[in-house]
């Protein structure tokens, strides 16, 4: 066996990007879920939930692959802790997406007409946050090419700055939506309000984890 061929470990960045893409496929189903909910199509919701579950499972498998490629003896160009945390945040995004779909399946909740627009606004904003993260993360391979520095790295740092702002916008929309929900406390029953709150909290967590993942990415870049 040649020493040179042993010297090279497998780079974890390829599978890492695969994982990001798979996680984002989960997130992409939030909007169809929301649409199905607004049409009160509960069969469709169940189907979508199954798809989210499957995607989440697939993402988990990729995660294990990446973990498997990170033995202690591997000397990485980025901080190992950052990389592992990045993976964990991504994993949580998929988990929370699945939670969201579960919430919609456990009770046939109706969305109050006053809330529909803002709910969609929130969902779109969440998509904006995770989308920004995806764009940044997909560039990881290019980044490895330029050894995490130079113009490419600066460009991605700029995107990541934008990520924080998008998350803040999502937070604001969520607060606004909460206020609207409590205005309806005499029209809608308490259980439904609890469900609305659950939905908002889960969506907020997705945005939060996306922001955290972005921070980890930043950590990798500026090591």
């Amino acid at each position: 066996m040649s020493i040179i061929s042993e010297l090279f470990g497998k780079s974890p960045f390829g599978p890492l990007v695969e994982h990001t893409k798979k996680v984002h496929e989960c997130v992409e189903l939030i909007k169809p879920l929301m649409e199905a909910l607004s049409h009160e199509n509960y069969i469709e919701i169940r189907e979508l939930h199954n798809r989210v579950s499957k995607l989440e499972y697939e993402a988990d498998k990729i995660k294990h692959d990446v973990r498997g490629q990170l033995p202690r003896r591997l000397f990485l160009p980025v901080d190992r802790i950052d990389l592992e945390n990045f993976l964990r945040c991504q994993d949580k995004i998929a988990d929370y997406t699945e939670d969201f779909s579960v919430i919609l399946t456990i009770r046939n909740t109706k969305i109050h007409p006053n809330l529909i627009d803002k709910f969609f606004k929130l969902v779109d904003q969440i998509f904006q946050v995770t989308g920004t993260l995806l764009t940044a993360a997909v560039e990881l391979q290019n980044l490895a090419e330029v050894s995490f520095s130079g113009a490419e790295a600066r460009r991605i740092l700029k995107w990541l700055d934008g990520l924080g702002e998008e998350e803040w916008k999502a937070d604001r929309i969520a607060r606004d939506l909460s206020r609207d929900i409590y205005k309806l406390e005499h029209e809608v029953d308490t259980l439904t309000i609890i469900f609305y709150e659950k939905m908002i909290r889960t969506l907020g967590q997705i945005a939060n984890e996306a922001e955290n993942a972005g921070d980890m990415l930043r950590g990798m870049l500026v090591r």
Partner: protein
Amino acid sequence: METFVIEIAALLGLYMAWNIGANDVANSMADAVGSKSISVTQAVVLAGICEFAGAVLAGAPVTDTVRKGIVDPNTFLTLTGLTHPQAAALFVIGMTSALLAAAIWLNVASIMGMPVSTTHSIVGAVAGFGIVAAGWQSVQWHKMAMIVASWFVSPIAGGFMAYLLFKFINHSILGRDRPTRAAIKYAPYLVSAVTATVVLATIYKGLKHIIGNVKWFTPEVSVIITVALSIATGMMSRFLIRRRLEGKDTLPVGEQLEMVEQVFVPIVIITSCSVAFAHGANDVANAIGPLAGIVKVIQSGTVVHKVGVPFWVLALGGAGIVMGLATFGYKVMQTVGTDITEITPSRGVAADLAATATVLICTRLKLPISTTHTLVGAILGIGLARGLGGINKSVTNKIFGAWFITVPVAAVLCMFLFLTGKMYFFDYLTAICTK
């Protein structure tokens, strides 16, 4: 009788050369194959040609009878109570044992996947023979110290050089806003540097034995040749690179990076070939040096310092290396070519160039360093510059382990073989050497 002994020695020399080919040669092409610049088959053919050419054209026509002068041949002649034919017989047994010991150790190391320097093996074996045959004082310990120093010097120097080179490539070309435009501007300088290193390495390391006999080939002339060739290739490459990359700077950065990497493909092939050529020129001596010594001593009946190497011996060494490459090195290259996706042509150029330059400089400083170890150090250096996706740290431990045990193991093995050989063949060989 005489030819029979020579035939046995030739077989051992071939076995040693086979091991060198199997163990070491694949490494010289690793960067080119790993970056997918050439296919495995192409690499085997290219490495075979370059190694054979290096061994036959540039392999030492004159060699020390004792590898690297680690043992002083005079001590055998001055040993009390030994006649010249007896000293010659001892020497022949010793060199044969050394050849066999080094080859066996290399073979075992190859099977166990240990990165072992062929030079260190043969030097260790010869030292072992010197110790049992003529005592501790016969070994040139200061030369041994230089070899120990090289364990640290070669990877560190190679790593440092590769780190700087890759940082330069990254800073001036890959990390720019418009990599293609930067490549047109800076890559020709790199081509000039590669040319200078390759030409100097070929002159001083590859062709030094041939050039030594040519009167007009003074150091000044070689410097002039080097500079002229560097400027010429630099200008030529600027023209070629511009034709390929001009106007491509509006494409997305990812695509531009890919195109720039394509520019490095021919460069990494050339540098890999020069590593293979230099390797052939240097390491073939590990197999044929002792063989040439044995042949000469058997024929003349006395111990000499330096011997001419007959052409058939050089060709034998070259053929052995190519055989090793074809039978075993092929597999190694396949592993490199299919499992490594991380190295890109630009990294390959940085590693090869750093290794060649380090070997060149250290050879000029008369430091014995190992090509393989320098290359490993260079690749680690690129890893430190964050240039590689992942590097297996445990390999470095393995390398250190192999360094430390090679010399003693080869020495002990050779002592054992020498004492056995002396017991059975001493009288027989003394008779042959009595003229």
